[in-house]
Symmetry: C3
Subunit: 332 residues, 3 copies
Amino acid sequence: AQSNVNVYGLVDMNLGIIDKLSDNAGAAGGNTVRVNSGGMNTSRLGFTGSEDLGGGLKALFQLEMGIAADTGVADTPLFKRQATVGLEGRYGTLLLGRAFTTVYDFVLPYDPMGYAPQYSWAPAGSATGASKYGMTFAFDNLVKYAGKTGNLSYGASYGAGEGSSGGDGAKGAVAVNYAAGPWSAVATYERINGLPDAATGARGATTAWHLGAMYSEGKLKLQAAMRDFRQEVPGSPDLRGTLYWAGSNYKVTPAVTLAGVVYYQDVRHGAQEADPVMVVGRVRYALSRRTDLYVTAAYAKAKHGALAGLARDEAGYGNRQKSVLAGIQHRF
Amino acid sequence: AQSNVNVYGLVDMNLGIIDKLSDNAGAAGGNTVRVNSGGMNTSRLGFTGSEDLGGGLKALFQLEMGIAADTGVADTPLFKRQATVGLEGRYGTLLLGRAFTTVYDFVLPYDPMGYAPQYSWAPAGSATGASKYGMTFAFDNLVKYAGKTGNLSYGASYGAGEGSSGGDGAKGAVAVNYAAGPWSAVATYERINGLPDAATGARGATTAWHLGAMYSEGKLKLQAAMRDFRQEVPGSPDLRGTLYWAGSNYKVTPAVTLAGVVYYQDVRHGAQEADPVMVVGRVRYALSRRTDLYVTAAYAKAKHGALAGLARDEAGYGNRQKSVLAGIQHRF
Amino acid sequence: AQSNVNVYGLVDMNLGIIDKLSDNAGAAGGNTVRVNSGGMNTSRLGFTGSEDLGGGLKALFQLEMGIAADTGVADTPLFKRQATVGLEGRYGTLLLGRAFTTVYDFVLPYDPMGYAPQYSWAPAGSATGASKYGMTFAFDNLVKYAGKTGNLSYGASYGAGEGSSGGDGAKGAVAVNYAAGPWSAVATYERINGLPDAATGARGATTAWHLGAMYSEGKLKLQAAMRDFRQEVPGSPDLRGTLYWAGSNYKVTPAVTLAGVVYYQDVRHGAQEADPVMVVGRVRYALSRRTDLYVTAAYAKAKHGALAGLARDEAGYGNRQKSVLAGIQHRF
């Protein structure tokens, strides 16, 4: 049975210490021991498959759920990570459904932490107040195309707004990547239309673009990128911020890989800006091709007493936060 | 691993245009572009298996979920489509759990659209107001039997009401199908008991019966059926409606199949009846045994300014609605 | 595909009669016919796998959901039964995630009904009022270890409270099992810390310990155990109860197994105690290695007019309750 379906996934769990969580904000800011899901990558379970249609054409499907393995519940409802069907051929891949956007896909290799939930600000900035200026991870009602011509890869995502006016709630993302020898570079743009205000009819939007560069040769990979984020709110000044990051992956031995990054968010509105910064380092030890042990340490801080949080999904409760954790990831 | 379990399913997605949706009801009724899940069939993922017990007896199980692949969420909670265990032998198949009813199973081959979410009224009529007079798709607390004697197939479903009085909330469905050469015919009956009114103790019920006939020879299949629906509400006149449909499937080439149907709901109570009608046509192009492309066009209208909707799961916002869509279905 | 993942599970359904359910409490207490999921074991679907890391070390993962197959919905949210990753080697097994506790694992073989939802009070007592004094089935944020030295098995579970003070909400469970020839014995202890009262800062806790013994030779297995439960509520007297059970499994023929147990809850606080008792018997007929038919009969009663319920998950509505049911379980 099951010749048509590949069941795959990963479970990633760790034991960590973190300070200044919500539940001890009133106290001196002591440390909390936690068991966490998703240190390097979100725990997940998926079902995928393809069918050769002849002439170089393939049909594809993918269903993938996210799992908060520390409590056993869904990290995202059912197949909110991926639920797609499509065709792949010589002109590229066309998918319909719910999936990560073109921008998410293209920027991922440029983050030395690979969007690690513990900890990367590449997909979204620090959770501090209004400065969580990130990319839109995935679109509902998605049409996604990806193609390749020589060294150039390119793609586009469209998320139908499904309103009467074509543009309300519509989402778009485009990206190009160029690789030449050890060098590669990426450029992306996305625009997410809001819904019109009932009273004024005015419609906001967020736009974000990325630029990134990578040098990869042998044991070493150097990665740097930036994101410019702008949120247009009708009748108010735009919210703006630019995220910069630079870091590296280095394979010390075939089994041991070091990763390190600095993320810096330059908030560009308001008088006293938080301008949070985070430094993350990780040692990964491969027990096999499918199983890793890892130790991660991270430190974040914000200026002017603003709140800073390491995790993009948790609020900050102090102007600095640090954590260290040790875990295991198994892929299947 | 997994020799005992077959993982199966399908993802069906399309891009379509539809007019007069809720969110543009106030406007001139413009068109909306949508990315939809389930054009020909509800996207789904399932797990099934059987075990040979000897003597012609088999144990069976099935777990099947519905997926709204355009947003990645559940179309129905977990395994609400199918969650059964049972035995199959020379005297038929007996299942316990949650599943589609005998009526749903037996009427399905008589619908030229195969209960397509986009669009068939065979399982349930137009979503217009009170006229959504349909079959009951599935029973909780189900005991289902299906058997076959020569050309005669028969089955029955019982859904326990689980109240103190045996009949409250109880559900029953029976059906017979007779096939002779290119001809076949079906007759079904179902009765769904309500719960007693707290004050009067009176209990309503809905009943529905179907009659259908099919001619199937070579490339051509002709199908026609009717459903008589009656909802008994204690102290009020019954709500009654009769749905008629007739259509065809024709295999133009081994890869191309045309389908077309007319559904007509004869509402039989009240003064000014909506009596909605829908015409649906579909071209299906088989890329392989497991992957199809399709184009579907549908038009529905109601009388006396009543609201008509194409989809059985969406309200109507005008007295007519039309849609055209193009999609892909991949089965695994 | 899927060489790394084993898809497994079971569906267990039955048809039963039970008296004195909530919906007929006001009446003379008539019988209700029900279709139930999980007579012998909770219906479930899981994904598991392991990877040989060399040197006797293995990586493991497990994801398991519970299913209420009578309605097709989740018995527990997603993978709340098991969501773990870990390592197994010569020094034992270490898991991180969400899973059953060490106490749950170690006491299970000592219950002749194997924690059957219909019916066992071994994991939790009768649902009657305050006397549902049970073990904690599973921990979130779990670190679990299990090991074995000769005839001695031992294990420990820790569930991080994840509060600022290490102890708030923390959970611990330890157990040892000793086997010698046909005899084996188990001893366990668990402590579940509550959260501090906002006003007083005082923190309650529940503690429970088990002792059990088993004699297993050839066709016969005799099992007896007890649980002492204490709930500390700051400012109030402790709630205390001791559950005793004794029973047997006997293989009449290779296909037919009889099981019988008496559970008795000695409530040890208050003036008029319910002291509920339940007698359960079951005949299991194996159609194959993976499929069983079974008939279960159970009777529970409480003293002093207190309410008694057979099921640990349902309230009682009379001072006695009885049920008989016939079902099928298929494992895959």
